[in-house]
C-alpha cells in the first residue's frame, strides 16, 4: 500500500499520462531517477535544437539506403525521437539494421540505445522495442544498466511484469547483475511474474507419430550439428524465467534466495541439481531453508516434468534439430522416479525438522526491494547526469570532426580542379614548343576499344513488317 500512496506525487511529474488507471500503478524508482530535466536540457543544444524528427528521419533513411549514413546521424536521430508514427517505426527499424552493417555498428553506442529506449517509452512504442532488444544479431541493442532500469521501471509502473521480466532475462543472458538497481528491479519483476503469470498460448502439439509423411530431401555441403548451449539458445520462456530466478536467488541468499533458487531450478528442469542443493543447504543451515509455497510449486513441477524414453532410437544426423537436443536433456522415467523418491525423503525431513517457513515470498521480496532500492538511486542519477553531458560533448566532437573532414574534402576537390585547369592551360600555351611530342603521344596512345553493336532482337510483328517491305521492294524491281 505504501507504494500505491507514492503514486500520485510521481505521476504528476510526467507531462503525459503513463498509466491507464491510477489505481493499478506501482512505483519503485523515484521520479528523479530518469533525470528528466537533464534529459530535456540536451534538446536545447545547438545540434539537436535545429533538427525536426519527422523530416530528419527521412533524410537519414535515404542516407543509410545509399550507404552513406554514419553514427552521428543515428545519434542525433535517436535523441530526437518524438511523435513517432507507424511508418516512422518501420524507417527506424530499417535504419538500425543498416547501421548494424556499418563498421561503427559492431558496437552500438550507449547514447543511441539510451535515446531509443527513452524515445520509444515516451511514444508508447515499447511493443516494437522489445523484439528489437531480443534480436541482438540484427539490431545490437545491448541495454546498459541505466536504460534497462528505466525500461523495467516503466513496465513495473504499468504492472506489465511479463515485459519487465523480458528485460531481466536479457540481463541474465549477459550474466551481469552488478548494478544493484537492475538486480532489485529484476528480482521484483520476475517474482511478480511468478505469482501473476500471464496466459500464454500453448505450443503447437507435435504431429502424430503414426502418420508417415514423405520426407523432403535437401542437399547441403555440410550438415551443421544443432548445438544447444543451454544459454543463448534457450527457446522456452519457462526456462528463461527459471534460470533468471536461480541466478537472482543465488545473489540474494537467505530463505528467500534459497526459495527462488529452488523454484528457478524446478522451472528450468534441473531437478537433480536442485535436490543436491537442497541436501547441501540442509547439512549447513540450522534454521528454515525454504518457504512453503515454493515446496508446493517444486512438487508440482517435478510431478508434471516431461520425460523421454531411455531406449529411443537416435535420429539420423540429417534429421537432427535443436528440439531433439533439448529433448535429450529431459529426465528419463527411471531418473524421474528416482528424483521423486529423493524429493519425498527431503520433503519429509524438511517438515519433521521444521525447516519450512510459512512466509509469503512475494511480500518478502516486495518489501525487500522497496526498502533497499532507494539507497542505490543516487549513484545512478549522478552517473546518468554525467553521461548525458559527456554524450553531448562527444556529439559535438563528432560534428566538428565531420565538418573538418567535409571542409578538407572540399578543398582537396577544389585543388584537384585547379590542377586540371592549369594543366590544360599549360598544354595550350606550350603547344608549339612541344608540337612534335604531342603528335607522337597522340599516335602512341591506345585506341579506345569499341564494343560491337548488339543486334536488335525483333518481335514477330517487326519481322512480318520487314518481310512485307522486302516483298514490296522486289515487286517494284520486277516492274
Amino acid at each position: 500500500m505504501s507504494t500505491l500512496c507514492r503514486l500520485c506525487a510521481h505521476v504528476k511529474q510526467f507531462s503525459r499520462p503513463i498509466c491507464a488507471s491510477k489505481d493499478v500503478c506501482r512505483t519503485l524508482l523515484s521520479g528523479a531517477y530518469r533525470c528528466h530535466d537533464a534529459w530535456m536540457n540536451r534538446l536545447q543544444s545547438p545540434i539537436l535544437s535545429k533538427v525536426a524528427f519527422n523530416e530528419f528521419i527521412l533524410d537519414v533513411y535515404n542516407k543509410f539506403e545509399k550507404g552513406k549514413g554514419n553514427i552521428l546521424d543515428l545519434d542525433i536521430l535517436a535523441n530526437k525521437i518524438e511523435n513517432v508514427h507507424d511508418k516512422e517505426v518501420e524507417f527506424m527499424d530499417r535504419i538500425l539494421q543498416q547501421f548494424r552493417e556499418t563498421p561503427d555498428g559492431s558496437q552500438v553506442s550507449r547514447s543511441i540505445i539510451h535515446g531509443i529506449v527513452r524515445g520509444y517509452i515516451d511514444s508508447n512504442l515499447t511493443d516494437s522495442l522489445l523484439p528489437m532488444i531480443k534480436d541482438k544479431i540484427t539490431y545490437g541493442l545491448h541495454l546498459d544498466f541505466l536504460s534497462a532500469n528505466i525500461l523495467m521501471d516503466h513496465f513495473i509502473k504499468k504492472e506489465m511484469y511479463h515485459e519487465a521480466s523480458q528485460v531481466a532475462y536479457d540481463m541474465m543472458l549477459q550474466e551481469d547483475f552488478s548494478n544493484q538497481v537492475t538486480y532489485l528491479l529484476s528480482l521484483y519483476s520476475t517474482t511478480k511474474l511468478l505469482y501473476h503469470p500471464i496466459e500464454q498460448e500453448s505450443p503447437n502439439q507435435e504431429a502424430e507419430e503414426g502418420e508417415e509423411e514423405e520426407e523432403e530431401w535437401e542437399a547441403v555441403k555440410v550438415i551443421d550439428y544443432p548445438f544447444y548451449d543451454d544459454h543463448f539458445s534457450i527457446q522456452s520462456e519457462r526456462f528463461l524465467h527459471g534460470k533468471t530466478l536461480y541466478m537472482l536467488g543465488k545473489k540474494l541468499g537467505g530463505v528467500d534466495g534459497r526459495s527462488l533458487q529452488l523454484v528457478g531450478l524446478g522451472m528450468y528442469d534441473k531437478f537433480p541439481q536442485a535436490l543436491k542443493l537442497l541436501q547441501d543447504w540442509m547439512s549447513v543451515s540450522d534454521g528454515t531453508i525454504v518457504v512453503q509455497d515454493v515446496v508446493t510449486r517444486f512438487d508440482e513441477l517435478l510431478q508434471k516434468a516431461l520425460t523421454r524414453d531411455s531406449e529411443e532410437p537416435e535420429k539420423d544426423f540429417g534429421l537432427l534439430r535443436i528440439e531433439d537436443e533439448i529433448h535429450k536433456l529431459k529426465l528419463t522415467q527411471t531418473e524421474k522416479e528416482h528424483c521423486i523418491k529423493d524429493w519425498q525423503g527431503i520433503k519429509e525431513r524438511l517438515q519433521s525438522e521444521n525447516k519450512i517457513s510459512s512466509d509469503d515470498l512475494e511480500t518478502n521480496i516486495s518489501d525487500y526491494v522497496n526498502s533497499e532500492i532507494s539507497q542505490y538511486e543516487q549513484s545512478d542519477i549522478t552517473e546518468l547526469k554525467s553521461l548525458i553531458e559527456s554524450w553531448e560533448t562527444r556529439r559535438q566532437n563528432w560534428l566538428d570532426q565531420q565538418m573538418k573532414d567535409f571542409i578538407k574534402q572540399q578543398k582537396m576537390d577544389e585543388i584537384q580542379e585547379k590542377i586540371i585547369e592549369l594543366e590544360e592551360k599549360e598544354e595550350l600555351l606550350s603547344y608549339y614548343t612541344y608540337e612534335n611530342e604531342i603528335k607522337l603521344a597522340g599516335l602512341r596512345a591506345p585506341i579506345p576499344h569499341k564494343e560491337p553493336k548488339k543486334k536488335k532482337v525483333l518481335d514477330e510483328d517487326e519481322i512480318e513488317e520487314r518481310k512485307l517491305a522486302d516483298q514490296k521492294k522486289r515487286k517494284i524491281k520486277k516492274k
Partner: protein, 168 residues
C-alpha cells in the same frame, strides 16, 4: 513435411565466435571462450580470454571479422594472439560463474624435442670412410649440441642410446 539434410556431417560442435560475441555486451570482451575440438583433444586447459572483437555484420551469415584474445594453449600462456578460425561453429562460451574454476591451470604441457646422438654420414662420404678405415659397416657421426646456445638445453634432449632415431 520433415526435411532431411543430405551432405557431409559437420565435425564441429558449437557456435561461431562471432555469433557468441554479437550476443554479448561489449562484443564479449573479457569473456572466456573455448574451442570444443581443443577441449576434446588435449587434457590440459586451452582457452582464450577475449580482448578485441570486430565482427563484420555486413556479411549475411556473420562469418567474417577479426578477434584477438589472450591465448592459453595446453596450460601455457601464449600472450595476446589473433584468434584462429573464429568463423567455425566450434566455439563455446564459459558461464561467468564457472570462469574462475575453469581458468585455474593445473597441468602444463611441456614439449621435449629429442635429437639423435649419432647420425649417418652423407652416402658417398660414408662409403669412402668405410673403405679407407676398413670398417665392417658404414660409420656414424657423433653430434655435439652447442652448450652455450641460450635455452638449447631446455628445449632439446639427446637420446641416451647409440642408435640413430631420426633427425628432428
Amino acid at each position: 513435411m520433415p526435411v532431411r539434410f543430405v551432405g557431409k556431417k559437420s565435425f564441429f560442435r558449437g557456435n561461431t565466435l562471432f555469433w557468441l560475441a554479437a550476443n554479448l555486451r561489449n562484443n564479449g570482451v573479457g569473456r572466456v571462450v573455448v574451442r570444443t575440438r581443443e577441449e576434446r583433444e588435449y587434457p590440459e586447459k586451452c582457452y582464450y580470454v577475449l580482448t578485441n572483437v570486430k565482427p563484420d555484420f555486413s556479411e549475411p551469415n556473420l562469418l567474417k571479422g577479426e578477434v584477438w584474445g589472450e591465448r592459453i594453449f595446453r596450460g601455457k600462456k601464449c600472450g595476446i594472439q589473433k584468434v584462429e578460425k573464429p568463423h567455425q561453429k566450434d566455439w563455446k562460451l564459459i558461464p561467468k560463474e564457472e570462469e574462475a574454476e575453469f581458468c585455474q591451470i593445473t597441468d602444463v604441457f611441456e614439449e621435449t624435442k629429442y635429437v639423435p646422438k649419432l647420425i649417418p654420414f652423407p652416402p658417398l662420404m660414408g662409403v669412402i670412410l668405410q673403405a679407407r678405415n676398413n670398417l665392417p659397416q658404414k660409420p656414424l657421426l657423433k653430434i655435439n649440441l652447442p652448450e652455450d646456445a641460450e635455452g638449447f638445453e631446455e628445449d632439446y634432449v639427446q637420446d641416451e642410446g647409440d642408435n640413430v632415431i631420426g633427425i628432428v
